[in-house]
């Protein structure tokens, strides 16, 4: 236990925690959306995120930029960043929908027991992970240009703020507010909430359940794609099994905030990012990956519904 470390670096830990938390929150939304509608933990979501990180990297490489050649000028950098973002979003959401169509929909048609969905999800997760693993020789891949500067821009209360952190936190907030607005104010969003509340009644009232489920996977994929690009910016490399730990943490975030609850996922993500950073300052960074797991067990034991309570439908019906 090293409290002096914690207090000395408190502002720094807070900003990095929030940045990391913003990425967790984006991935957590994917778990929460699917859970809210299907009461199903989409195990393969971690791979949806992982695929996005590779899609963005490869797009940047295809545009001719790599670790030795970064684009010059803000406009070109932004353009390249957005190209990678679009690729990641496209690939991630396509993967998410493909998982739904191949691994889940056939099981729903057969009214399979809940266990079958989980097993099929594990299978899907492994297939995606192994395809990328075989394609990349299971090596870390970090051939990415510097698109957003990692140099400190200014200092608040002793914490150095970098442009990467600003891009991630602001970008994540925009996505979160956008998703919240979409679910609460559009016709499609109303459909999602209706199915989350009561799938059978919603279907009887004319909501196309199959389409809503597809939409939910698509939205989760979009969020994961954005998160993937942010993760690339922050960590600078990716790996075929990156999704596993990340997914576990994002899932923890979703449970912490109350799975099935959109705002809960955001709150849970940010909190987890902070807790993880503070705790790893206390107990040593080599155990940082265990923090999320301990948080998960603690939440499940003492407040399984999470901070804001479980439910997409009930929270804001």
């Amino acid at each position: 236990m090293d409290f002096s470390e914690l207090f000395r670096n408190f502002p720094e830990l807070t900003t990095t925690g929030l940045t990391q938390g913003a990425i967790y929150a984006l991935v957590a939304l994917g778990y929460t959306l699917v859970y809210g509608v299907l009461r199903l933990i989409n195990f393969a979501h971690s791979e949806v995120f992982m695929v996005g990180t590779f899609a963005a990297m490869w797009t940047w490489n295809a545009l001719g930029f790599n670790q030795n050649l970064s684009p010059s000028g803000v406009l070109i950098s932004a353009g390249v960043l957005i190209a990678g973002l679009l690729a990641a979003v496209a690939v991630s959401s396509a993967t998410a929908v493909a998982v739904e169509l191949t691994a889940y929909r056939p099981l729903r048609k057969r009214n399979a027991p809940p266990l079958a969905f989980l097993i099929s999800a594990i299978g899907a997760s492994f297939v995606i992970m192994e395809i990328i693993g075989i394609a990349t020789d299971r090596a870390p891949y970090g051939n990415m240009p510097e698109l957003v500067s990692n140099k400190p821009l200014f200092t608040i209360l002793g914490a150095e703020i970098t442009p990467v952190q600003i891009v991630i936190v602001v970008g994540a907030l925009v996505m979160l507010v956008g998703l919240d607005w979409f679910i609460n104010n559009t016709r499609l969003g109303r459909g999602v909430r209706a199915v989350a509340q009561d799938p059978d009644s919603a279907a009887l009232m004319g909501v196309n359940k199959g389409r809503v489920i597809g939409l939910v996977f698509l939205l989760g994929g979009v969020m994961a794609g954005v998160a993937a690009v942010f993760a690339n910016l922050k960590y600078g490399f990716t790996k075929f099994n990156l999704g596993f730990l990340f997914g576990l943490k994002a899932f923890t975030a979703a449970v912490l905030g109350g799975i099935g609850n959109l705002r809960g996922a955001v709150l849970g993500g940010l909190l987890l990012g902070l807790v993880e950073n503070y705790a790893s300052a206390l107990v040593g960074t080599q155990f940082r990956d265990l923090v999320a797991f301990v948080v998960l067990i603690a939440v499940l034991m003492f407040r399984p519904t999470g901070i804001l309570g479980e439910s997409l439908g009930r929270a804001r019906a």
Binding site: A103, R110, D200, L248, F293, L296
Partner: protein, 383 residues
Amino acid sequence: MTDVQIKNGAPEPRGFTGKLNAMSKPGRWAAITALVALFYLMPLGWFADPPGFYNPLVTFSSDFGTVLFDAAIFVLLAIGLNVVVGFAGLLDLGYFGFFAVGAYAMALLTSPASKLITDYHWLDSPWPWLAALPVAIVITALTGVLLGWPTLRLRGDYLAIVTLGFAEMIRVIAVQSEWVLGGDRGISAIPHPPGEIGGEPIFGFVDPKPYYWLVLTVIIVVVFGVRNLARSRVGRAWVSIREDEDAAELMGVPTFKFKLWAFAIGATIGGLSGALWASKVNFMNSTTFSLENSILVLAAVILGGAGSIPGAILGGFLVAYVPEWLRGLGGFLGLDINTTEYRYLIFGLVLIVMMIFRPQGIWPNRRREAEIKDRQKEVAVGE
């Protein structure tokens, strides 16, 4: 259970199990004994490499005895996981974690290079193998109870995630804890099981056959134990929990207690296989305990047929044996098929395809097959 056909008051024999049960008792025993004898004879030279012609079952590119040993370890793991997933319906994704606990416990207690002896002096000298084995098993069972206590109150999918995290946690601890588990440098000089014939130790470094026979014997004992448990009050409680937990609770089944039992028994068998494995390999480090292996054991249970002991045996054997066999076949035909590279991909696909087209597995449990068919009749609205 409505689609069991009744003819002359007796159910029509269906599948392998049905045909086996339809035999007279001595016939059944003879069949089982012959099969078991075949398994014991398999690694012997004249069976594996008969003079004059070639045995298609043998793996070419890797030592057949070693493949059989690995397959036997997987069979044991599959039987253990089958208790948890197949009987009680609890999805445990971190089952290999128990294997790791058993292996590490065995290594720490028996190896003269164990840090409990060299650095901490908790033990004066390494424990004898036979004394350490039960202790390693008990430690694993306790780990199972410790993990199950907080998590078994939850719904199935939470349990799945928590067990997944548990296996990862064991791995992270194994990598990081240089101070006792040795991290990547691992623990060496783990002793072999005792016993000698004519001055020569039975369990040596070179020959994998005695280890295979040892695990095979353990499998037979465990199968008897598990089969009797499954047919007892405990087994009926597990089935009721799997079919409908709320109903079971209402009928007075203490579901939590029996789920914990299933978890502990599964962990025990996992720890046992880990301990046996550790005493063959002599050296172990943290790289053995990857997530992939947990999924491989799960694939074995699902492939064979969750809830069915012969299914678990078949599945465990297939998962460990087929990739090696294919690799050998590829080498024989002059192709370089790296099956270890692709096997997780293929077994991932197998999980999806099995769930869609044959969720009951290759050698299913009749009751579970009927459960799945029953459910298929009630299709939800709006699909």
